[in-house]
Symmetry: C2
Subunit: 181 residues, 2 copies
DNA sequence: CCTTTTGTACTGACTGGTCAGTCCAAGAGA
DNA sequence: TCTCTTGGACTGACCAGTCAGTACAAAAGG
């Protein structure tokens, strides 16, 4: 849907409140009435957009969660998340900005169970296999890795857009593998 | 200044655009005109607020950057960042939300040089001392650690406000120390 | 000692513009 | 016929920023 793409771009640039429906309609090349005909309200449009994008992100992460060992799977999920934000870049910004707004609680809940859940699962598998400490706080660690990748992705897009992705991935994996050389 | 506290709370709750100057004035217990008398514009108020808060954050991190080895200093900076956001909680949300808006470029630049700089310095020291790989991409790693702590702090405040800080710190340090048990 | 002036901080009603959402008459496609 | 889309005019709420005026303390002057 063109409206989705237009909305996510504009919201990434300016934030939700500062983005007008007129602007979304104009960039999408449709009439303003069409937006309201299809989505009912600006808020509903944004809700649908968040839900759809979070679903795609969760699918991408789940698909990436493979590897000989659980820890290899973790590296692979990190790469999957980097690749996803490379492709759907503006979404990373939107997520970072609006994720913790109380207004979008259901979306955040979905993000937690579906996207962070992939990290949590991989980490649990690693704990079960003895690859990490069995008493690791898996939920917090999942959030930490997710937030780390999200922040670095956003910075990459803003400041070093043409740095090879593999290099960024290598740095992150290095951090996670433990810092002693 | 009461206006600062009110503004940061409201902006953390609703975001910059959705926060009205009327609401800020009301929560601060002053007249709307007072806000404009003191700050000139809503944007200038937010700019001053960002600058002030980033300065405090950078000071807190710099103060924490001590330890026998550079890597101990890194752990200590992580704890410093956690403590800072524990005390000035709403600011973490604001930073997370508005940090990448192009409108606040100077503030972001200041954040990068002053706050992320503390992480970068510690990591550089670690690299020089052979405590981490000499060719580590220090800038990216600094962003990664900062973003990790920022995200976890925000989640902590939102979901587990009474979990002991030391436990969160332990999990993060464990992640950084390397995941093999 | 009194009174006039000046500077500073603050006030809140008001204005001008902006924007979500509505409505409608007319077309397009199936 | 029915569903979807268009373009644009319109409304009503909301909001950043303004401005004339208040309050008051500290000089200035006599």
């Amino acid at each position: 849907m063109k409206v989705f793409a237009a909305a996510i771009e504009l919201i990434a640039e300016q934030g939700y409140s500062a983005t007008t429906v007129d602007a979304i309609a104009e960039r999408a090349g449709v009439a303003k009435g069409t937006v309201f005909y299809n989505f009912g309200s600006k808020e509903a449009l944004f809700g649908a957009l968040l839900e759809h994008s979070i679903g795609m992100l969760a699918d991408a992460l789940a698909e990436a969660a493979v590897g000989e060992t659980a820890l290899e799977a973790l590296d692979s999920v990190v790469l999957g998340q980097l690749r996803f934000f490379e492709e759907y870049g503006p979404f990373a910004r939107v997520l970072l900005s609006e994720m913790w707004r109380t207004a979008w609680q259901e979306a955040v809940a979905q993000l937690r169970t579906r996207a962070l859940g992939v990290y949590a699962d991989v980490l649990r598998r690693a704990a079960a296999a003895g690859e990490v400490r069995a008493d690791l706080d898996v939920e917090t660690a999942a959030t930490a890795v997710f937030g780390m990748v999200l922040t670095v992705s956003t910075e990459r897009r803003a400041l070093h857009p043409d740095r090879p992705l593999a290099q960024t991935h290598a740095t992150l994996v290095e951090l996670l593998h433990g810092r002693i050389r």
